[in-house]
Symmetry: C2
Subunit: 180 residues, 2 copies
């Protein structure tokens, strides 16, 4: 059918779930306070039934102007974006928006700890890539550079994030290494 | 009518608009990076029309588990909630949720700068109330304390936020005084 109406499911959001589990563990153990920002929705119409909760009957997804996650760790501001790819050899830049990059550049300039978490699902590997290492790839794409980053480059410039049974994407260990 | 369906408008959100304008000014002048978090929506049904944007046809507002605003200023993590009241003599505690308080207590414990922005619209005055000054009032309400804070107490414990024609709620000036 040309028109589809369907239950909203979070397909392909394994990385997001793993990060949320990790953040809950960090919160429970009082290590850090990091939250995923809600998906921005433009609410157009709301129905208010008698004696039950308001129902949004018309809304649209908006493009995020910031990264998905932020918070505080050891007194430092933390800000990151998480992306998963099935591509075995490259991480495509297409999924990241211009506004998100401006945001990340500003956070970095103001002294925040800013990075990407990139999962190569085919390799079952997750990397921490400092924003400072990411920006040159982003900027070069407009100067006849590639529209993607090679897997090997991410292996080299990034840090493999260890798995922990409760902190499934244990990225604070990398921050400890790099900043403390 | 018992059932109402209506266009979603932001009634009574003058303070929110003023803070958003202020944050845009801070961003444009490279002073700070502070954003409002999107309102959390639980998306249940989405319609995917041919050749146009996905439409959320069923969604619900969720209770926020954090504050509305956060970001970074002079290297420090910033986190705050904004509330407006028409009450002339008291600020009611009812609009703030338990989860938001836990969040604010954690942010404070981890070294963030955490506060409330409270506007008394009848007085046309807006106050910066440090989270540390707010917590005792919150905690006391469960110990036979008041369910509200007196206007006079907020005047005393808080700091009146100056108006600036572009930074309409110029709260960074208070942070400069208190922390730098
Ligand atoms: Mg995202
Ligand atoms: Mg709020």
């Amino acid at each position: 059918a040309a028109n589809r109406s369907m239950k909203f499911s979070n397909r392909g959001m394994t990385l997001e779930k793993d990060i949320n589990t990790t953040n809950t563990f960090y919160w429970d153990t009082n290590k850090a306070v990091i939250h995923k920002k809600p998906t921005p929705v433009q609410v157009v119409n709301v129905h208010y039934p008698k004696r039950s909760a308001a129902v949004i009957t018309e809304g649209y997804f908006k493009q995020p102007s910031t990264t998905d996650y932020n918070g505080i760790y050891r007194g430092r501001h933390i800000d990151f974006e998480a992306k998963e790819t099935r591509n075995k050899t490259r991480f495509p830049l297409a999924n990241i928006h211009y506004h998100q990059i401006s945001h990340m550049k500003s956070i970095t300039a103001h002294g925040g700890i800013c990075f990407l978490i990139i999962r190569f699902s085919a390799h079952n590997e997750t990397y921490y890539l400092p924003a400072e290492s990411f920006f040159p790839y982003w900027d070069e794409q407009f100067n006849e550079g590639k529209k993607s980053i090679r897997y090997e480059a991410i292996k080299e410039k990034g840090y493999k994030i260890p798995f922990h049974f409760q902190a499934r994407v244990n990225y604070l260990t990398i921050i400890d290494q790099l900043y403390f």
